[in-house]
């Protein structure tokens, strides 16, 4: 078992599906920051067996909608004075803009410059979204 020091003030992104930790790490540009960050992969988890987690020694702004879109099972713990001051459970966002792209070659997004790809949640159970322009359905796996 590997131990990483607890943080005194910052954020713990917990219960990340194994394999998605690095993706979130990269999405948040955590390789470019000047404060302490730990990316832990394949940590034991009582609920999921294995999980990834990220500890950030800083109260940076996070786009919770995007994190929820990447993995809606994530828990965000806000740490103040070494204690969890707030626990945020994420869910799939109703709308996603500029994160993923529509793959339908007949969609206007395939040709128009500077267009923002937009999707709306249509089914929470299956996590399916539709393109706001062409209605194509998508389910993204992590």
């Amino acid at each position: 078992m590997l131990y990483i020091d607890s943080i005194s003030n910052g954020i713990v992104i917990d219960h990340i599906k194994p394999g998605l930790g690095a993706k979130i790490f990269n999405y948040l540009d955590l390789d470019k920051v000047d404060f302490t960050v730990a990316l832990i992969i394949n940590a034991p988890s009582k609920t999921y067996g294995r999980k990834d987690l990220i500890k950030i020694e800083n109260n940076m702004d996070l786009d919770l909608r995007i994190l929820g879109f990447i993995d809606s099972n994530i828990t965000i713990n806000i740490i103040r004075d070494e204690k969890i001051s707030e626990k945020i459970n994420l869910s799939l966002p109703e709308n996603v803009e500029g994160v993923v792209e529509c793959k339908n070659p007949r969609c206007i997004t395939s040709t128009e410059r500077n267009i923002v790809h937009k999707f709306s949640l249509v089914d929470k159970e299956t996590g399916s979204y539709k393109c706001d322009y062409c209605d194509q359905l998508y389910t993204w796996e992590g």
Binding site: C107, I108, E112, Y133, C134, L137
Partner: protein, 304 residues
């Protein structure tokens, strides 16, 4: 300001209001002859069209308004690479209403995000064609008396047929509608229509491959064209092609009060011998199309 890019942009009340106004225009054409005087409609057709464009132009001119526009992108700045938002902002400075046809799905919706004047989708790729749907609904209402309590068969290319997609969306809001989808496997309705419209709204539907097996149960038959090039293999085309051609022989199996609709243009999916059958409604449908567009223009421009 209101746009019409998807049939669901109109509430049931707005639909009823349009049908009522269209009916009033049909019965009192003189009263509407100059309600759009001084107004300009722009038709931006990035893809060729004859009847839809003519229908809009005739509608606007019968209301006393004027029309500008292009009927193929080659004759516009679009070929210079102008973006849709720039085109829309420019044309919107000249015109009071923009009607747009585009080969890409969602283009009119994207245009509506950047427009200061109402945008009407006149067909976007294989996606939607809401004013054809208004035409279809008005035709059904005028001929059948109501749009509820009907078994509606949609036959032909259900995969790429935008008029079919729009019509299914629209009829899903009416009561006691049954839908029968008649197409080759390769041209079945897209998943999103099945899941998002039919299943979600608990509309009973059936998918079959031949018209003969279901024609006797239909109140409305909506025919569309099946093109040979849409099939993946020649054998299937040869096996099924005749099933999608409506002729007097097949009509013998149908109800006496069946209404046959077609968004036109027709190629060979309805035999010309059917034109004389009282059940053929597709030319009446064309006329209703112009009147419902007159009603739509008048409402969007708030002149009636």
């Amino acid at each position: 300001m209101k746009h019409l890019t998807d049939p669901m942009d109109l509430s049931m009340e707005e639909l009823e209001d349009l049908f009522k106004l269209a009916k009033n225009i049909i019965n009192n054409q003189e009263d509407y002859r100059s309600v759009c005087s001084g107004k300009i409609l722009a038709t931006l057709f990035y893809e060729p069209s004859t009847r839809t464009r003519f229908s809009f132009e005739a509608a606007m001119q019968r209301l006393g308004g004027q029309v500008i526009g292009f009927s193929e992108p080659g004759s516009s700045s679009v070929t210079k690479g102008e973006s849709i938002p720039d085109t829309i902002r420019t044309v919107g400075s000249y015109a009071d209403l923009i009607v747009m046809r585009h080969p890409k799905e969602g283009a009119p919706k994207y245009a509506s995000y950047h427009s200061l004047v109402p945008i009407v989708n006149a067909g976007d790729g294989g996606h939607q064609h809401p004013t054809q749907t208004l035409t279809d609904l008005l035709t059904i209402k005028e001929i059948k008396g109501e749009i509820s309590n009907l078994t509606i068969g949609l036959c032909g290319d259900l995969k790429f047929g935008r008029t079919v997609h729009s019509l299914i969306k629209a009829i899903s809001r009416y009561e006691n509608i049954k839908v029968i989808l008649i197409s080759p496997k390769e041209l079945q309705i897209p998943e999103y229509i099945k899941k998002e419209i039919l299943i979600k709204n608990n509309i009973p539907f059936l998918e079959v491959e031949t018209l003969e097996e279901v024609i006797d149960s239909l109140d409305v038959l909506y025919m569309t064209r099946v093109q040979k090039e849409r099939f993946f293999n020649e054998a299937d085309y040869i096996r099924l092609k005749d099933s999608y051609i409506l002729d007097n022989e097949k009509l013998k199996l149908a109800k006496s009060d069946l209404s046959i609709l077609h968004p036109l243009p027709r190629v060979n999916e309805i035999s010309p011998e059917v034109d004389n059958d009282p059940r053929a409604c597709y030319f009446k449908q064309v006329k209703y199309g112009m009147f419902i567009r007159m009603a739509l223009i008048a409402r969007l421009l708030e002149v009636a």
